[in-house]
Symmetry: C3
Subunit: 341 residues, 3 copies
């Protein structure tokens, strides 16, 4: 058979390194589409002179654009037969991606555990994205539940990796030459700086976006993500196309500009859950909670650890009395962002 | 509160200069999206060699792309709480915008008048767009009706600015080195030149475009316009998303290629009314009327003052017996374009 | 009348050369949109370093992107009053198109035959696309049925051109310096090479894409194709917008990555039929059949002649007992692609 049926649980080996196909050169075209697809307004990614005033060579690609590009490459090898995307950990952005850069991706299998049902198992991979100079640009761990292809395939020895519950501030990698000491708050859109955010503070980002089928498919294709549930209305029994979870991440992060305009760069992904599926017609809203504050080694640069929640309901909803995510909650993301002191 | 609630009528002061946030670097990506979003075919904006044969460095960004980019920046400060966008005047394009340019915007409050109801008022601003060298690229006046935040806020002294009913031909700014003496009419798509258009002549642009939600939202986001009525289906009582008026301007202008292919560059916006709201599902058509002709200082370049009307009905409809715009009329725009002699 | 009513059958003269309007400069923006509109993953078009490892200067524009751009230019002169697009032949890509290139098009009328009804006729044109250096980049013959404008216009002498049923392998033009001897199959996404494909072999490309109105209109506008049936829901009696046939070609070709990932470059179009109209809501699938294999003069480069069929039904459907295309079949295309030996 010439076509790729995707890997099944029994096809993964612990320690195996999977080189993902189809490297991708990014340009101003991808950047413009990112602005058309998401209400993204963070100034570092919007303006070359603003980025230069922060010590960067020019405006980089949005950190999530780099993430989606790397993630998309992994789909044919990791999640084509996935039943569920279970979590993220230890995500770090290692250097900015600029127009003209070419990204490729590679994943190492770091954990395997068959489910008690014997019909599926959990696969943990650490994925790294590299640029054309083979420098790493980002890395993250994700784990997915994958169907078995042959029910009688023997279960591998269970190995569950020890993952850091959060990237510690000391492990955050500062973009080279990043310097917020001459940061222009008026041009950036808000006056709130690192010291203005208190741990425990919650911010309702107010705005909402009603999502269309054409939009999420344009986005997901742009990242060369091939999972058929996003594109083929006949793929699922209910006839609905599932929106790529990363589309919801980017929508929520872009909405968070309103209240966190200066939380410019995403440098770590501590954890993330796609709490409920998102469909076209949903109106996505977002709220944030400040989880932690840290200093960094870059001049004028502080770090905020933020919970970013996307919901199709009201702000500050999260879990019900049973401790489970409420059905209105779409995303619960834990990340570090860089913000001027 | 960390989020931007927008300004209310009482928050504006006469003479105040508002620097709008989030500068934007434009590239070939924005140009390509403009061609995907609108049936734009004017050769100066489509082809570098054609633009060079007209004396320009390369194909500039469509003048309306520059306008939307500048306009989008003003929304969070000017029209977030606007009840209505009342008019435009004294708009002039001052130099072309090229790929790689970074635009920012600033507005001066030039008029204030509280409505007799005491619940809202009209704010007049003169907005200027600048490039990365702080050179002005365009300017225009617009006035909007803005809600009051506190009903008891005292009314300011009423100041209504004197605005020119039309930009006089002598005030039109010619793009540097523009020269239509070697203009290639075959490549441009039509043979009609300045002398072929008579004052009073009306042109039915024939074609129609049925608008989709995904399209107007992609466009409006691309200009970083944050007004929630365009994106959030729950923001208005009727559950319909209002299409950004500038989207209708660009649709109508692009449709006007068919009959006005040589009216290449937009250099002034004399007046404009968004006569009725436009919604997804509407099929937008356009017609033009020649209002005035003028010579210019640039070699081979004439100017046409044109009325551009967008409608979801038949051509040449405008006003009913009561003098009001017919419900099918979406836009009534008065502008100057440059065309070969 | 200032607007273009399109040409009617009696307006064409045998041997006439029609220079099409509105040259177009392409950039990374068009490339990014191509990736957003189609699930395109062929590595030569996705990655500059990959293309360079194959001897090319950088990643070219997808061959179909170049085709659509040239095709779009011809629409106002050739197919505005077309009743049907009847066929393609003798299509050849003559050199790659890169970001920054400007394309223009010109067509020669090579055949004319009035239909027996006397109300329409068939027009054959050979279209050539040129870059900014006046070098040809592609050429093809297509024939369309065009309405007569005046029923009493005299019938021209019938001339039906002799067209090659297939571009012979010797006539395929290799991109300059193309070399697949250092081809990286892992990065390209599949291990199958020229020798792995047998004549008569059929491949089900498995995936499907449900098409939205916004998507096909964005695509068709991007190619500056002005045929109103694609954009105006009121143009046809059934109120449905017809999807541009080239959109289906690009969808099917992109889907064929899964099973033909190494059939990188399209170098000839032997024949093509748009078997049935495609509408928004259709879920497009694709299958291929290997028709012929040939060697080429370029190092490490073989050629496969492929039938590419798009369908909204099951794989391997084509014709009914009556020899006619089944109603589920959308496209039957016969082309040559280059693949590593």
């Amino acid at each position: 058979m010439k076509t790729n049926p995707g890997r099944f649980f029994e096809d993964y080996r612990l320690g195996e390194v999977i080189a993902h196909a189809v490297p991708r050169t990014l340009s101003g075209g991808e950047r413009a589409l990112y602005h058309a697809l998401y209400p993204a307004r963070h100034a570092v990614y919007s303006s070359d002179p603003f980025a230069q005033s922060c010590g960067l060579r020019e405006a980089p690609m949005d950190d999530l654009l780099a993430f989606h590009t790397v993630f998309g490459k992994t789909v044919p090898d990791i999640s084509l037969n996935a039943v569920a995307n279970l979590g993220y950990a230890e995500g770090r952005w290692l250097q900015p991606v600029f127009a003209g850069d070419t990204l490729r991706a590679e994943s190492t299998v770091i954990g395997l555990k068959e489910n008690s049902s014997g019909t599926s198992g959990v696969v943990w991979v650490r994925t790294r994205g590299f640029n054309q100079d083979d420098e790493p640009v980002l890395e993250y761990v994700r784990w997915v539940m994958v169907r078995k292809g042959r029910p009688d395939a023997p279960a591998p020895a269970a190995v569950v990796p020890q993952l850091a519950p959060v990237v510690v501030p000391e492990a955050l990698v500062m973009p080279r030459r990043l310097d917020f000491t001459r940061y222009d708050f008026a041009l950036a859109g808000e006056r709130h700086r690192w010291g203005d955010y208190a741990v425990g503070e919650r911010i309702d980002h107010v705005d909402g976006v009603t999502v269309e089928e054409a939009e999420h498919m344009l986005a997901t294709r742009l990242w060369q993500n091939t999972a058929k549930v996003h594109f083929d209305a006949t793929a699922r029994e209910d006839g609905r196309r599932l929106i790529y979870g990363g589309h919801v991440i980017s929508l929520a992060r872009a909405l968070s500009f309103n209240g966190l305009a200066n939380a410019q760069m995403v440098v770590a992904l501590n954890a993330g859950a796609h709490a409920n599926p998102c469909y076209a017609g949903d109106t996505v809203r977002a709220w944030s909670e400040v989880l932690e504050r840290a200093e960094t080694s870059a001049p004028g640069v502080g770090a905020l650890r933020l919970r970013l929640v996307a919901t199709r309901g009201a702000a500050f909803e999260l879990r019900g009395a049973d401790g489970k995510y409420l059905p209105e909650v779409l995303l619960d993301l834990d990340y570090w962002a860089l913000i001027p002191l």
